[in-house]
Symmetry: C3
């Protein structure tokens, strides 16, 4: 594996192989596998799980990581092409990215959606531009429209829980949040569950439909895997017989990049906060998933998070475990 941009670029055999390797590395550590290997981590946006789990994964395999983020003691980074840099920024990504990449055996990149254009964000334009500058192996640590490390961790969590692939019911539900959040996790999660062969329902209010291109990509994956993908705005219908309720807030797609429009649309939707009652129609052993960070009492009620349905900590720990597998496949036995 040279790059890890998108789970959709992996065959199901590759995913199986990554999941097996992840489980093996978790049971039988290999603290010399990546001796002397370096992971460069470039964060253009904040992080907690990703920041910590990638560093931990590299240490567990005998290598190490360094972190560059714009709020560290570095010169501001300019991203616009062809600009005369007579303002604040003292360095351009055209230099910063290849330089940082040149110190690592692989480069992790986090870059949230610029939100200037929904089409560009769906095409993951910025991420692909940054990745192209790296000149070497890259890992997507959450881009405008993707978060393959989260999706692989979620897949492993579903396997760990024994949730069936074909026949398992996976509800991805929008939830209230005071801010307009990225589409990366919902888009990646939807595709992951579809690719896993599950019966996937997207439950979201009007104006928050996932973009047609994202739905189509998931439907194509479902077709191949024997799963299916539907949409609704009726939580009761959506959760009928569900194995999993996966909550996530995201921005309005009707008012994408339009703050006031989005806010007006979401204001009346405070009731989209997952509570135990949301599980009334689900399987008795249904679980609650969320990628974190999560706002308690806003996205989900405390009693769900603190109760036996929640597997959010396991999901988060699996980030480290699957990333060990990705790094091992990408870097072991290879020279820079």
């Amino acid at each position: 594996m040279r790059h890890f941009n998108d789970l959709a670029e992996c065959s199901s055999e590759q995913i199986e192989s990554l999941l097996k390797l992840a489980a093996r590395l978790d049971m039988h550590p290999e603290p010399k596998a990546l001796d002397g290997k370096v992971l460069a981590l470039l964060f253009l946006n904040p992080s907690l799980r990703t920041l910590a789990s990638f560093q931990a994964a590299m240490i567990r395999l005998g290598g190490g990581a360094f972190v560059i983020s714009p709020d560290m003691s570095i010169h501001g980074l300019e991203t616009r092409a062809g600009i005369v840099m007579d303002g604040q920024a003292a360095e351009h990504i055209k230099e910063a990215v290849p330089v940082i990449a040149s110190y690592g055996d692989a480069l992790g990149i986090r870059a949230f959606a610029p939100r200037r254009s929904l089409d560009e964000d769906i095409a993951d334009k910025q991420y692909h531009e940054l990745a192209a500058l790296a000149g070497g192996p890259v890992i997507n640590m959450e881009s405008a429209i993707n978060h393959p490390c989260q999706s692989l961790a979620d897949w492993k969590t579903l396997d760990d829980l024994g949730v069936p692939r074909n026949g398992g019911k996976f509800v991805l539900t929008w939830a209230y949040h005071p801010k307009a959040l990225p589409l990366a996790v919902p888009a990646a999660t939807l595709h992951m569950a579809a690719m896993r062969g599950m019966n996937v329902v997207v439950n979201r209010p009007a104006g928050f439909e996932l973009p047609p291109a994202i739905m189509a990509k998931a439907r194509a994956a479902a077709e191949k895997s024997g799963g299916n993908v539907t949409e609704t705005s009726d939580a009761r219908e959506a959760t009928e017989g569900a194995h999993i309720i996966y909550a996530k807030s995201w921005s309005s797609t009707r008012y994408y990049g339009d703050g006031p429009g989005d806010l007006k649309l979401r204001e009346p939707l405070l009731s989209w906060c997952v509570a135990e009652s949301w599980f009334d129609n689900a399987r008795r052993d249904a679980r609650f998933m969320h990628c974190l960070p999560v706002r308690r009492g806003v996205v989900v009620q405390d009693h769900v998070l603190d109760g036996p349905r929640s597997v959010v900590i396991q999901e988060a720990r699996n980030r480290m475990v699957v990333q060990m597998a990705v790094l091992h496949q990408m870097l072991s036995g290879k020279r820079q």
Copy 2:
């Protein structure tokens, strides 16, 4: 050793064993002892020595550490229970702590006193809540009322200097500082010296008495070790025949959490700045100790810090050395 919360939880045999291990690791490095082991470091408050010395300790033992602090590029952390998170903070410690802990083989926690209630701070309520969330081994990197790593380093420094246990005289003196500082170091230092069997005098102005519970805990330790604990406000009497003058500023306990009250009480106390004259009554070879950081010309005069009595740099270096021992005992040969 599963946790390192408080030196008082260690038997004197355990402390002997840690100090021997520390000396051995300092003389004979074991750069493979913690291969692939990860220390998670969570700083809710600033740090220099702790930040650096724990990272260095892990590297020297072949493992590594990652650091999470609120001023890094993370979402703000909410600490209040049962709150509806519709404000600034995007993540609750109920998720953040177990997640961060799940990436490490142990979790170091720094959390200064909230100063809402002296009783809660003396009970180290916040630290115990955070530690309970970790679900695995934890290390106290300074809490509301404790700093066991500093105390173990100070114990080693006293041993290195040949200061006698029974019969050694240890003066813990309050010193002026423009701000109301935590009780953690004075409380931990007092207990350490008492547990070491020394004759301990606490020298402090009226209104800055250490809380009765802290004094009682130290007296109980002294009883067991053959030491004793007294109090005074007379520096001349306190320092008579002293082996050690250990300076530290702390907040008024009479006006605990009351900024203006504390300030008014400390304002006239500028003369509580340790100078060479403070050693007039002490042993000729008496030493000056301080945990650092220290304000020159405020807590202690330059001529003391720059003179032969000061052992503050050795104390600080011993932080790394004893922490290697703690980490080695906690993590070597064990699986997460």
Copy 3:
């Protein structure tokens, strides 16, 4: 090698040996060479390449690094001697530097010019004071007047490109920049090229002459190596037959430390932006060098940076490669 303060302190045999070791470590990694060794990194000023490349270099050799910078969660650092610390800063460099150094097997220091006195900055007064506090091996990560890691990387880059030592023509040219930048890189670069035996031309506008002491040091190095050093303000003459155009902006020496004076002098110099036309008189295969970060469209035009003449990314990567050699020579086989 105990310290790495200044390339001028190395014999040409030592430099040859470092460059050979660098090339070897790049081809044949030694991921156990510095097992358990720690590099302490103290940044009093911002950094990207240095921050990343030193961490990467230590990991590649099996050790590790920790980073302390004033914008991290540490107490402010006081640098003035004899001051009563009743203000903001809670710690003095007299404690911070030896403590940080005591946790590492070597200490890297970055400290830009205070710009209070040109003579003090030329003498590298602050760096030498900080280095003296360390008490152990130190590495100059850019001081008021020097940047030996950059110079060694540039020397290697010139070797990699096959640029001849004696007879190679090296043009160090001033370039426009909205801010008054340090003299460290131009001074170090000039000396490096002279020490390498090249024909060096410094091209700079009136008022931006490098200080006589810096020119004299370079001339002495050139005398020894068979090179020579000249100055001009005529870019056309300077670049005649050049192998290398090395661009760098620096502050006015006529108005050193005088912001408005410097600004007035540089305002009309916007045309000092390297473009392809600057290579009209140079060798057909002439290369463009810069230490980065570089302002596009200000210091150099995009078409040069994006074209085949630019070797700025190789230069930056060589930072890591030569630093591995410096660290290996300094730390391998040695105990703290």
